[in-house]
């Protein structure tokens, strides 16, 4: 990796990584009622992983994924999404019907629903799939540089 070792790049990217992940979670959560959600949040998170890979190499960035591998992150994401619809079946409702409830926390209230679980799955899936794909491409690039 030709950038690896660049002090400036490493310093910037390690901070951008953390910041971008925080932003991605915020986008995931606000997606309930405002623009955002799991898909866009996942894209931002994938961008964060790519920044990390540019500075520290794809291998390290891959290990930093949830569940320590992009593929596992993506697959478990889809599993969470699939599972989020199952509680509705026990309640005798149609698959993927999501129950809603409000959690009062004094100053503000939080809308809770298994939709969040669905969105979290989408978030992990997009992060794992697109991030993993980008890392593979970066590795291709790196191996061509060595050759």
């Amino acid at each position: 990796m030709k950038f690896a070792g660049d002090v400036l790049l490493r310093n910037v990217c390690s901070r951008v990584y953390v910041l971008a992940l925080i932003v991605s979670v915020w986008i995931l959560l606000r997606g309930h009622n405002e623009p955002g959600g799991g898909f866009i949040g996942g894209l931002v998170a994938a961008a964060a992983s790519i920044a990390l890979a540019m500075a520290f190499g794809a291998e390290l960035a891959a290990r930093r994924f949830p569940f320590r591998a992009p593929v596992r992150c993506g697959v478990l994401g889809v599993l969470i999404t699939v599972a989020s619809g199952v509680p509705a079946l026990w309640r005798g409702e149609a698959y993927l019907t999501h129950p809603w409830s409000k959690l009062e926390l004094g100053v503000f209230s939080l809308d809770l629903s298994s939709v969040l679980l669905f969105d979290l799955g989408v978030y992990l899936c997009v992060w794992g799939a697109l991030g993993g794909l980008a890392l593979e491409l970066l590795e291709l690039d790196a191996s061509e540089d060595q050759a």
Partner: protein, 491 residues
């Protein structure tokens, strides 16, 4: 709940086998457990729909005009069952070392993902949702085509991907135009909404949709991707692709023309149906001529897919209930026979060391049981009585003669004769003639390791034989399924 099984069982199997990618033994157990569960669920489903019930679910309980639903009727249930059966046969065959599908860690997840896409296409009751499952199928199929990553595969995969992406794009544009015309996407709603659309825009949009689906099913003149891409696959995957994938396109045309837009065959005094019929005739001819020309076993069989798709399209183009019933019977017969032929071809190539007919021979003397396994689907493909292909072709011919479509019937008969020629070529070259002196027999093939492959071929052969000698059960089922189309199955 049961209506969810065609999607959820293979999808979850795909996911858990992907998680077990680094542990081959666990993955194999999970893969077979998932496949058997799918088969069991599909059998239950078949039993339920056979009572005339249509199993419906609306995801998230959204009303039909906003939401997406599955509706599994007799036709859908039958196709889902055949899908599950093909999945099981493929996985069983892949356990042997014949034309080893390169024990790739992501083979099982991709196969199950493909099955999920196929089965969900049969289950869905929404035009846009149909497009989504076509995409899932395309992604998994592209993944399977490049497993192994040899140059020849990448070449085939690129052609496959390019033409199929074009088809998917056309399909999406068509779906958008349907929505623009009617404001509806659910099949049940489209059925009544399409009654109020003028003939001209309706024909244009239907034409676009059918064009996209024709491309997917490998019809004339858009089939060139099929013989280019399929022969690069290992035998079990080739059987799965050949059996199922093009038939999803044919099924979607049947669903669209015979069920969702029942006006389609009568548009412009039947010009729409006539055009489809001539495309079908051209597809039959082009496919069988390609098969007659080639010497590579896989290419011959790949061209046969094209010609057989023509028969199914012809039956759909007839536009009658009996035509739809013939199309259903033909599709089921053909999926089983075609997949089996490719599976046996893999065994033949492993015995002689080559798929090229000119370099093979002597199979009848060396492995007579293999000749028997080949004879059942081969005779059935040609349509020799009493094999299943005879009943299938007879149903199509009877209905086209009854409707006065003599030219189409003549083409169908001619194509049957040419099919006989190209199958006889395989028989003479690979089975009958002695192995050419300059070719050494492949002694590396070990019969014990081939047992799972033989079991898979025998299983499909038995299915063909049971359709052959007791066609009445399937004919009655297909008749009932065809009668329930056009909203006849509404409860």
């Amino acid at each position: 709940m049961l209506a969810l099984a065609p999607l959820l069982v293979p999808l979850v199997t795909a996911l858990v086998t992907a998680l077990a990618a680094s542990r081959p033994r666990t993955q194999r157990v999970l893969s077979f457990a998932g496949s058997l569960a799918f088969l069991a669920a599909a059998a239950l489903l078949l039993e339920r729909v056979n009572t005339g019930e249509t199993l419906r679910i609306a995801f998230g309980a959204w009303p039909i005009e906003h939401g997406i639903g599955f509706a599994i009727d007799r036709l859908g249930g039958l196709m889902v069952f055949v899908t599950a059966l093909m999945g099981f046969a493929t996985l069983l065959y892949a356990e042997s070392d014949v034309d080893a599908p390169r024990r790739a860690p992501y083979l099982a997840p991709l196969v199950h993902g493909l099955l999920a896409g196929v089965a969900a296409s049969f289950a869905t009751a929404d035009l846009f949702n149909l497009y989504v499952w076509f995409e899932l199928m395309l992604v998994c199929a592209a993944g399977l085509l490049v497993l192994g990553g040899r140059l020849r595969q990448l070449d085939g995969a690129l052609k496959y991907l390019a033409l199929n992406l074009l088809g998917t794009l056309l399909l999406l544009v068509g779906v958008a135009m349907v929505y623009g015309l009617t404001g509806r996407l659910a099949f049940d709603e489209l059925r009544s909404a399409s009654e109020h659309v003028a003939a001209a825009p309706l024909s244009a949009v239907l034409g676009l949709l059918v064009l996209a689906l024709l491309l997917k099913s490998g019809a004339f003149p858009l089939f060139s991707w099929l013989p280019a891409a399929y022969p690069t696959l290992p035998a079990p995957l080739l059987a799965l692709f050949a059996g199922l994938l093009t038939k999803v396109g044919a099924y979607a045309i049947l669903r669209l023309v015979a069920d969702v837009v029942p006006r389609a065959p009568t548009l412009y005094d039947g010009a729409f149906a006539t055009a489809l019929g001539w495309i079908a005739a051209a597809t039959m001819l082009a496919g069988v001529l390609g098969a007659a020309y080639h010497w590579d076993l896989r290419r011959i069989l790949a061209f046969h897919i094209v010609s057989q798709i023509g028969y199914i399209l012809l039956a759909i183009a007839l536009g009658s209930t009996a035509g739809a019933s013939a199309a259903i019977f033909y599709t089921v017969h053909h999926i089983v026979v075609k997949a089996n032929l490719f599976l046996v071809a893999g065994l033949v190539a492993s015995a002689t060391g080559s798929y090229d007919l000119r370099r093979s021979g002597g199979v009848l003397a060396a492995r007579p049981w293999l000749a028997a396994l080949f004879a059942v689907p081969a005779l059935s493909l040609v349509g020799i009585p009493p094999f299943s292909g005879f009943w299938a072709k007879w149903l199509v011919l009877r209905e086209s003669l009854a409707l006065g479509r003599y030219a189409w019937a003549a083409v169908a008969l001619l194509v049957s004769a040419l099919t006989l020629y190209s199958v006889a070529k395989i028989w003479l070259e690979a089975f009958w003639k002695p192995l050419p002196a300059h070719v050494e027999a492949n002694s590396a093939a070990t019969p014990t390791e081939q047992r799972p492959a033989l079991a898979a071929c025998a299983l499909l052969g038995l299915v063909t034989l049971s359709i052959s000698f007791a066609p009445q059960a399937l004919v009655e089922f297909a008749d009932a399924a065809a009668l329930a189309l056009r909203g006849g199955g509404q409860q």
